[in-house]
Symmetry: C2
């Protein structure tokens, strides 16, 4: 086993950075030196000596002895600057920044080729679950029908609390914040952006398409009410936020992020709190399920460590599905059965239901279950944000046959 | 992406061989020629032209144009002969033969080094679940506390039928046979040998110890009765056959195969029929779960294909945990809480219960729940086979603390 000696320059020392530090210190089989850690705030108290830190990114980027940059900061713009500068200087990079990756995916793939460097980012989707590596390596010749799952720990934590304790969204959000599972600004999570960015990264490895996230419909859970949870419970369901990507024909895929009803005989039903879970359906391997912690410094740190370790023996993503080029088209012309809870008829009419199978009306709330087209949802994506509605994918199969 | 052109010589054309043939024919991104298939019976009808077949193994082993041997026959002795001959001739090998692997594990690892060839066998444990590759690559620096799961599709199919339909073992076994999920001689499956061989292979990659299977205690389900199933149902459990390997201290592991009670909030509870599932617990990644089909030609064929594909870009297992050498000892001095259903007091006494927490007696059956030592079970391993008892690991934690 010949491994390159790694000299690491790290950016960021938050939750994941500290988790990684712990993980690295406890990993017997593998030694890598963290030469320098670049952080923003010189006045913040740190739990390790100040001599480990720098406040100037060039101390890392211009240090020729550093051969691996590990980028773990929040700001996607600054991260993009750091990552691309490092790549141009011939340094390999490990990152967990899904916003940056999803927004510049194609460019970052091309830069790896151009500058002969490796960019690894297993922690960016599904945290500790090795989904990217498996899609890239293990299923590289599989006919993958679809992939769906729970990719956002914050919303899953909130939904679990709402389901178990019959509490309001805002109270659940507060509790998630108190436990460290929601940011002070949780917009990215609760509106479904985070799940969408992860879905776009996964799509690149599952199907070889590097989608502009703007092209993909997403919807979150910020308008979920106790009525929705009660409805789900009565039917034996839980509501989970489930990103989906799948084939509509041999060379075309669709994708979206929507809440979904999950019945108790399904794997995702037991994926609670900060856990994530991914289901793949493929021609030969059939249905597979992967689950693990989707948030937290140690779980994410373990995925980052695995990328660092892979770097030490020269591993690079080959983007095999992209090379194969089997999937070339993306569509939003896709029928979905949804539950729509609403209060005004004119709001309901916006969704252009093609078929209605259930309808309920009471003093406190109304809902309808029927078939709509993803195109309609996409066209409404901005308008929906202001409506007093909640949408759930029923997950009924066979609609698009 | 530079890939070696593969010329494959295949041994066996049963369920997995035909499944692989289907999978290969449908894999767009990847072409490999199956040059020749060696089979035993010249008179058996085949679904492809006879010109594809040979009945002389040397037609493959002595053909210098063949650079990959795919071994998919049942007989472990013949398989060992084929695999080692191929390796000595410098050919890479892919196999799914867990009996052969487990019995000659160390030797086969050493031969890869000696003859500079690659031996891959993802399909040998957990069929389509990429557990070996993930243990080898992804968790190579993780502090793995334990691994357990369902690794035998036949017994899981039988247990699922017994649980759902409240039928006898023999009737369930017949139905599993009729559906193609049990061999005409199911001994290897129902006595737990198959699960143990797979556990030993996994142990090599999880902890770097190549155990002699004779050293590992195994127990199957052939004496399970309707009483046991009824007891489990009343308590909200299912009974599953669960191999376990885990650390007892920093450099020591233990392992065994035993039926286990699984409650409905556990992932393994929903792993039914021919599905397999694996749970890992690690210091930083925490608890993870992988599930997929554990039997069937296509599911197994997809794992074999993934190994073939990995071969095309020069992939080899590095046995990283073995190289690290952190785990050096194996112990059977390990306390377990078990449920023992029995009829004779003298049988019960054999198990030397250290502590008893429950006891039940009726005209039709008796059981006791208490703590025993794995050493005692191992010492009784031959005697147990003839006793009218059934043993289930309750899975209660904290006994060995």
């Amino acid at each position: 086993m010949t491994r390159e000696k790694l000299k690491i320059g790290m950016f960021g020392y938050g939750c994941v950075g500290q988790g990684l530090h712990d993980v690295l210190n406890s990993s017997k089989g593998f030694k890598a030196d963290i030469v320098k850690i670049c952080v923003k705030d010189p006045n913040k108290k740190r739990r390790i000596p100040m001599s480990n830190f720098t406040f100037d990114k060039n101390d890392i980027l211009n240090d020729p002895s550093i051969n691996l940059v590990v980028e773990l900061i929040d700001d996607p713009v600054a991260a993009f600057n750091i990552v691309t500068t490092a790549m141009k200087k011939g340094k390999n990079v490990v990152t967990a920044n899904k916003v940056m990756l999803a927004k510049h995916f194609k460019q970052l793939v091309e830069m790896q080729d151009k500058y002969k460097v490796s960019l690894l980012y297993e922690a960016s989707a599904g945290a500790s679950i090795p989904i990217i590596r498996n899609l890239e390596e293990y299923y590289d010749n599989e006919l993958l029908y679809s992939l769906r799952g729970i990719l956002n720990g914050t919303t899953n934590y909130i939904l679990t609390l709402m389901h178990n304790n019959a509490i309001d969204f805002n109270i659940a959000l507060e509790e998630a914040r108190a436990k460290g599972f929601a940011e002070s600004d949780p917009t990215l999570d609760i509106e479904g952006w985070d799940a969408k960015y992860k879905l776009c990264i996964i799509t690149g490895h599952a199907y070889g398409l590097f989608l502009d996230p703007e092209e993909v419909f997403h919807y979150g859970i910020k308008t979920i009410s106790k009525f929705d949870i009660r409805y789900a419970r009565e039917k034996g369901f839980k509501i989970k936020l489930v990103p989906f990507v799948g084939k509509t024909n041999e060379n075309t895929i669709t994708s979206f992020v929507l809440p979904r009803f999950i019945s108790s005989d399904k794997y995702l039903y037991n994926v609670d709190y900060e856990y994530n879970g991914v289901i793949t359906e493929a021609a030969f391997a059939d249905k597979q399920f992967f689950s693990g912690k989707g948030a937290g410094g140690h779980a994410t740190g373990s995925a980052v460590l695995s990328d660092i370790s892979a770097n030490s023996y020269g591993y690079r993503y080959e983007y095999k599905k992209y090379q194969q080029g089997t999937v070339s088209d993306y569509t939003r012309d896709y029928k979905l059965e949804v539950y729509l809870r609403y209060s005004k008829e004119k709001d309901r009419d916006l969704f252009k239901f093609e078929e209605i199978s259930e309808f309920f009306s009471s003093a406190s709330y109304k809902y309808v279950i029927g078939i709509i087209n993803l195109q309609t949802l996409y066209a409404l994506r901005k308008k929906i944000q202001g409506l007093d509605v909640f949408i759930v994918n029923t997950g009924r199969k066979g609609i698009n046959t």
